[in-house]
């Protein structure tokens, strides 16, 4: 069962798309070996959130470490007057909650119904001690994350609205392909507002650019929040600044 099907099938299915196994997300991501997985399973707490509920809040004390096992969440930072920057979206097997000082540096909110594995910070740290190789892979994942952030800075700082939307669609398509799924159609469960807050546009401009790409025949909007990329190469060309 893929993430699309999980969401399309409604709340119950979306909350736990993989049945009884709370650590499926861990297995899926290929990061863990059997003994590590077993050790993790002993200290895990299963958690669920519905659409728009928050999981952690920026500034709160960081007591927990999470892994997404079903659904999609947004990672966001807020300014005092309500302006919001989404710094990323989390999918099954993604983790979050590592805090530098004792507090979370961002909030995490459920974009769809969401299921998670929660680990108490102390017990997680003890586990890292037992399995030092975990850290090696965490560094690899952090490096990937860092490279993605830098790419996103280029999008936010230097691309036009049209290029931003094309970048967003190309990125999701590429991600889908990397996971061994078809690069199109892609599942876009987040709202135009969420996307706008991710790529630095308003809801209205984001909507207008989607419409523009649709009228040009570059994308098609399908039911169930699916978007078909009718000309992925051209979208990539637009995303890269023509």
């Amino acid at each position: 069962m893929n993430e699309n099907a999980a969401a399309a099938a409604g709340p119950t299915a979306a909350i736990n798309p993989c049945g009884a196994c709370p650590v499926r997300g861990l297995a899926v991501c290929g990061v863990l070996e059997p003994d590590e997985l077993h050790a993790l399973a002993e200290i895990v707490h299963e958690v669920q959130r519905v659409h728009r509920q928050s999981v952690i809040v920026e500034g709160d004390e960081a007591h927990n470490f999470f892994i997404v096992t079903g659904g999609v969440a947004s990672v966001e930072k807020l300014l005092a007057d309500g302006r919001r920057q989404v710094v990323g979206f989390l999918y099954p097997s993604d983790f979050f909650g590592l805090a530098i000082d004792g507090c979370y540096a961002y909030s995490v909110t459920a974009v769809t119904n969401l299921s998670l594995c929660r680990f108490e910070r102390q017990r997680y740290l003890a586990l890292i001690d037992r399995f030092p190789k975990l850290e090696h892979r965490l560094l690899g994942m952090a490096s990937n994350e860092l490279a993605a952030s830098q790419e996103q800075m280029l999008v936010l700082g230097r691309k036009t609205a049209r290029e931003k939307v094309a970048s967003f669609l190309s990125m999701l398509s590429e991600r889908s392909r990397r996971l061994g799924r078809p690069p199109s159609p892609v599942w876009i469960p987040m709202t135009r507002g969420d996307i706008g807050d991710y790529i630095g546009l308003t809801t209205e401009t984001t909507s207008r650019k989607f419409t523009q790409l649709r009228k040009e025949g570059l994308i098609a909007v399908l039911p169930d929040a699916m978007i078909e990329l009718l000309d992925p190469a051209e979208l990539k060309r637009i995303a890269d600044g023509g």
Copy 2:
């Protein structure tokens, strides 16, 4: 000798601000223990670059890993038509050159005259094997870097020109304070163009906002590329959208 003095004293001093020791940057950053430092010293190559010279180029094969020991460099990504996004600035003790696949994901260019320690990738990887704790600290540094990137996304995506410039100045001041130096004045060796490409503005708008802050009595421009923060608290308030 601090970084300001190194630059102010001219090219020769700037290239090697600490005399004969090529690994001073490593010692300074507090990341290494004596035996690790000793092992590193054996495989290090000293490298220098002058103002505006490039160190690595986005897309090149990643054969080397670097640590800055003197001067300042910019990390940047380019679009085909020349648009540039500076994703960060590097100071003594900062490292770069870790590539996910085999190629660099960004270019690094000297902002001032620059001295570096270069390590061949293979030998560096062998060292990591010998000193696993190195990896623990690299993860810590990568986490910090990631948090900084997310903060920068908020700046790029959601702040006004005025807030962007105030954020930039506050950040440098805070960094200076964290390193145990006075929070003002701060050394700004990069041009208005470099700063603009970092915070997502043009040279002209960046210059205008500096002028505006100066006329409001919030900053003063001193000789030798020093900027005094006359009201750090108010600048921070502006930066935070207050």
